[in-house]
Amino acid sequence: MSSGRASFRDRLFASDHVAGWLFVSPAVVLIGLFGVAPIVWALIISFQNNSLITSGTWVGLANYRHLLHDPMFTASVRRTIVYTLLFVPITLFGALAVAMALNRRLHGIRFYRTAVFAPVVTSTVATAIMFSWLLDPYFGIVNVVLNKLGVASQGFFQNPGQALYCIVLVTVWGWLGFAVVIYLAALQGIPRELLEAAEIDGATRWRAFWRVQFPLLGPTTLFLVVWLTINSLQLFDEIYVITRGGPLASTTVVVYYLFQQAFAFFQAGYATAIAYVVFLAILALTVVQLLIGRKLVHYRS
């Protein structure tokens, strides 16, 4: 009997059941508390009238129903879509062009690369402040130069017709380097022989790029489209620091709107319902992008 129990204990410890759970236990506790629990709790809060201060009262689907009839929410979604449709293609094709230019041996190439990468490590807050100053309507350098060229001063972040486009500019500057790094790594994985073969076949550089290199970059492009889209739907920092959603709510994108609802108007239930809808939209969009991508992208083995 006793030998049987000992062998059971031996087997238990020799197998990985105990060691495995010991290894993952810190991660399980912390991810459980700050990863899983908030996801479930957020779903509950989205069915509540919750002011962050007192415990919430159950209101069923009222928050989600309210969403459908909230013109401010609809407008914020529209702005987010406009922003995303500008930000993602500009960053993507800008980064592709820059990566092509940087993918060569050249004197000073390290300097050029550093220049392109440096904004990636600059915080969003600092980036936002720098551009607020560059685009300051009264004393900013951009307006000074425009005036010298005979163009009238622009309002930029203070003009409801321009503010969102200026935000696009700021975030493209901040994200370009990230996309360039990813493209450069992928470009360097393409064997030179492939390009040389295409050129021997008489293809022009331009054709060789679109026919040979660009298809080979397919998986990278797909990853970047998904990644940039996810991040652009979550745009917040630059809006908070530069415009606070203004002027005239022209830069109130959806995450800024839900932040306002939660922490300025204390409608945490409503805010969380919005967040869940955004999350489901991101999820659906990602699935669609991956499905389309699978049709278009050929993975090399």
């Binding site: 991810i31 390290r110 967040a275």
Partner: protein, 282 residues
């Protein structure tokens, strides 16, 4: 595919200046990317009046820096940010290694389900969980303290996932040799596996550092007292308090960005490699 963006030969070749038309493209590009930094530094060295009259005033007066540091506790904010970031990075390296290794190499009850749960949390954006996370942190009595900034990030699903993927690609033979020699699971991990995982660990460390150091939304929600601000939160309020005095704001901005920029320039190769790895594995 998994090589870094900068190949070693790129750094050693092209010693001599060879004229190339590409410089005509790359020099303007570099100027556009660097101009905001250049103008930031130039403005920080100007007086308020100089900043409002066009012309390059390279006044080289450091008054704004002295003023910025006496008017706001940038030193304290730097210390806060460092304490939070270092704690979060170390904690991620230790706990994500343990969990990632177990998920890659051990078969234990519920491991498959656990991995799926971690993958699911990886996909949820922070905005969804920010309200309940605040309530949990408040329930633990941590609101407006530095631990509030650390706790939700001590173990990131990203770190566990990334390291698990790397452990999976490692050959098992060395570990088996160590196991046969009598090393336990932990001994194998620490003595055999970790030393050959420097690149992926650097990736987790650098990405975690970058996120924590530059994070804005969570400190904005979790912290109220000025003494517990991070650099980014402090910089934002500093700008809000001195909106018209741009040279002063610029001096503050320069001081808050220098630490990360210096680390980046010194360890650029590792940063680039980390970003590229994230792209390939993420």
């Amino acid at each position: 595919m998994s090589e870094a963006a900068i190949r070693p030969e790129d750094l050693t070749t092209a010693r001599r200046w060879t004229p190339s038309p590409w410089h005509l493209v790359l020099i303007p590009l570099a100027l556009v990317m660097l101009f905001p930094f250049f103008w930031l530094v130039v403005t920080s060295l100007q007086t308020l009046t100089q900043s409002r009259t066009f012309g390059l005033h390279f006044a080289l007066q450091f008054h704004n820096y002295v003023d910025a540091w006496t008017q706001a506790p940038f030193g304290r904010w730097l210390a806060n940010t460092t304490i939070v970031s270092v704690t979060v990075v170390i904690s991620n390296l230790v706990f994500c290694s343990l969990a990632g290794y177990a998920l890659a190499r051990m078969r234990f009850f519920g491991s498959g389900a656990l991995f799926l749960v971690i993958l699911a949390t990886l996909m949820v954006p922070f905005q969804v969980v920010m309200v309940p996370t605040l309530l949990i942190v408040r329930g633990l009595g941590l609101v407006d303290t530095l631990p509030a900034l650390m706790a939700p990030n001590l173990v990131t699903p990203f770190g566990v996932f990334l390291l698990r993927q790397f452990f999976k690609t490692m050959p098992v033979e060395i570990e088996e040799a160590a196991r046969i020699d009598g090393a336990g699971r932990l001994g194998t991990l620490v003595k055999v596996v970790i030393p050959s995982m420097r690149a992926p660990l650097a990736t987790v460390g650098i990405m975690t550092l970058l996120w924590t150091w530059n994070d804005f939304l969570w400190p904005l929600i979790a912290i109220q007292s000025e003494k517990n601000f991070t650099l980014q939160l402090g910089l934002m309020t500093f700008q809000g308090a001195h909106t018209i005095n741009w040279p002063l704001v610029m001096a503050g901005t320069v001081t808050t960005q220098i630490p990360m920029l210096v680390i980046f320039i010194v360890a650029q190769r590792w940063f680039v490699q980390s970003l590229a790895t994230q792209g390939l594995k993420g």
